[in-house]
């Protein structure tokens, strides 16, 4: 299989990358890790005229705490998260993502920014980041703007990014005592998309009551979605089996799965319930107060 013909540019600066993107509008595609884009090109589901390879653009790959935020460069590879001590110790939800996404070869090349911009409804990264008040930076010809994660995903494979914009950075609030999260994915085999996935992020107070909760679901809607009812069922209650069972039931009801090769609607709903409960248990254990 071979992609359609295209021009290839490998800009050496961010300014040049944005310039090429603005000159070409939606005829250009950004090439980061290529682990979604190249299969799409090979299947000729997309036929861009220009590919803008951003791998030489400096300053786009980092994972660091700065001020009261965790800042992530869009060109950080999944493997970087798997290997990061900071992530393992303080943001294990992202270790979860990086260890279940694709397979080792995909994780060596694929990037977080690419995964987000691709906007698959089954996106592991999209779902995990929805469990945070994440902010995304998009840079275009008129400078930078911030897009909250809740407004980033529009439809399958469609985001709030304009064709002249490049996603450069993802920021979430820095982890503090009592915070814990987890991402659990049900998949048929390594490399498969999520049959369903559940991301939860909890903030517990000193009495182990839930002060804040976000619950997000993969593969059960046109994009990664939140489960606000499940979140409400958690806040203000003791982090334990009763609240978790209620929240899991809510999440299952808030999911919109469809029957396909990976399972029936009923099965997926049942699994959302089970995985939400398990993710809440893991998140609570990690919150470790």
């Amino acid at each position: 299989m071979q992609p359609h013909s295209f021009d290839y540019v490998r800009p050496q600066t961010l300014a040049r990358a944005i310039q090429v993107l603005s000159e070409n509008g939606n005829r250009a595609k950004v090439l980061a890790g290529g682990q979604s884009l190249i299969p799409v090109l090979k299947l000729r589901l997309a036929n861009p005229r220009v590919l803008v390879d951003i791998n030489d653009v400096p300053g786009l790959a980092f994972i660091e705490e700065r001020g009261d935020q965790l800042r992530i460069g869009a060109l950080s590879r999944h493997r970087d998260f798997e290997q990061s001590k900071l992530i393992r110790e303080k943001y294990p939800i992202f270790s979860d993502v990086a260890s279940v996404l694709g397979d080792p070869q995909v994780r060596n090349l694929g990037t977080i920014g690419g995964a987000l911009a691709h906007a698959d409804p089954a996106s592991d990264w999209g779902t995990a980041l929805l469990a945070f008040k994440a902010e995304l930076t998009a840079r275009g010809p008129n400078g930078a703007r911030t897009i909250p994660i809740d407004r980033f995903f529009k439809d399958p494979f469609t985001t709030a990014l304009r064709s002249s914009e490049l996603l450069t950075e993802i920021r979430i609030p820095k982890s503090k005592a009592g915070d814990g999260g987890a991402y659990l994915k049900l998949k048929r085999k390594t490399g498969d998309f999520a049959t369903i996935g559940v991301a939860v992020q909890l903030g517990l107070d000193a009495k182990r009551n839930v002060a804040g909760a976000r619950v997000a679901l993969a593969s059960v809607g046109p994009r990664p979605i939140r489960a606000p009812g499940a979140e409400k069922a958690l806040v203000g209650r003791k982090a334990g089996p009763t609240a978790f069972a209620d929240a899991a039931k809510m999440a299952s009801g808030e999911a919109h799965p469809t029957s396909d090769l990976r399972g029936s609607e009923e099965y997926k709903r049942a699994m959302i319930e089970v995985f939400t409960r398990r993710a809440l248990e893991t998140a609570t254990a990690r919150a470790g107060r």
């Binding site: 299989m1 071979q2 992609p3 359609h4 013909s5 295209f6 021009d7 290839y8 490998r10 050496q12 090439l31 290529g34 682990q35 190249i38 299969p39 090109l41 090979k42 590919l51 390879d53 791998n55 030489d56 493997r79 694709g102 397979d103 080792p104 070869q105 995909v106 060596n108 090349l109 390594t190 490399g191």
Partner: protein, 178 residues
């Protein structure tokens, strides 16, 4: 090719000779090759058709099977899911790069000794995926081995022989004491 053997810096910008092709220089198994390629040419096709290194196999051609796995700057990647132009200025290791002076690499010896293959089609990819692991960890747990080769599909062995082979190779690659 003796033409235009400029020193390839990793950041070198590709120049365009004609018809949208790009000149790229890729070090494959320690040897530098400079070729003009169309941007849409996949790395695996470049390796097999342009360089005539046919040890790298095309299995599924859809990023699932791992038969086309090569090392890119030491990391296992699927060469069917990368463009040849992306490899400009980088180092590639294919299965042909493992043996030295006609002597098999320890990992190849181990696969032979421990029934790590039957038909052999997936083997080049599996070996390179395992090699990435063994270069950083020469006493990996079974779990680590299984994870390292989880992007590679084998339809013959049932994987147990592969896992045994990788463990044995790790042992052979460990520096001897004394």
């Amino acid at each position: 090719m003796a033409t235009k053997r400029k020193k390839a810096s990793p950041k070198r910008k590709s120049v365009r000779p004609e018809n949208g092709s790009h000149m790229i220089t890729v070090a494959v198994n320690g040897r530098k090759f400079t070729r003009a390629v169309e941007p849409r040419v996949l790395l695996v096709d470049f390796i097999r058709d342009d360089l005539r290194l046919t040890g790298t196999h095309v299995g599924c051609d859809t990023s699932h099977c791992g038969a086309c796995t090569v090392l890119l700057d030491g990391r296992a990647v699927k060469s069917c899911t990368m463009l040849a132009v992306q490899a400009d200025g980088r180092e590639i290791t294919t299965i042909e790069g493992l043996s030295e002076h006609g002597r098999l690499h320890p990992i190849q010896e181990a696969f032979k000794a421990h029934h790590g293959l039957q038909c052999g089609f997936c083997t080049p990819g599996v070996v390179l995926a395992a090699l990435e692991l063994l270069r950083v960890e020469n006493a990996p747990s079974e779990d680590r081995i299984r994870t390292a080769i989880s992007g590679n599909i084998c339809r013959c062995t049932g994987y147990q022989g592969i896992v045994d082979s990788v463990a044995a190779a790790g042992e052979m690659m460990r520096p001897r004491k004394g």
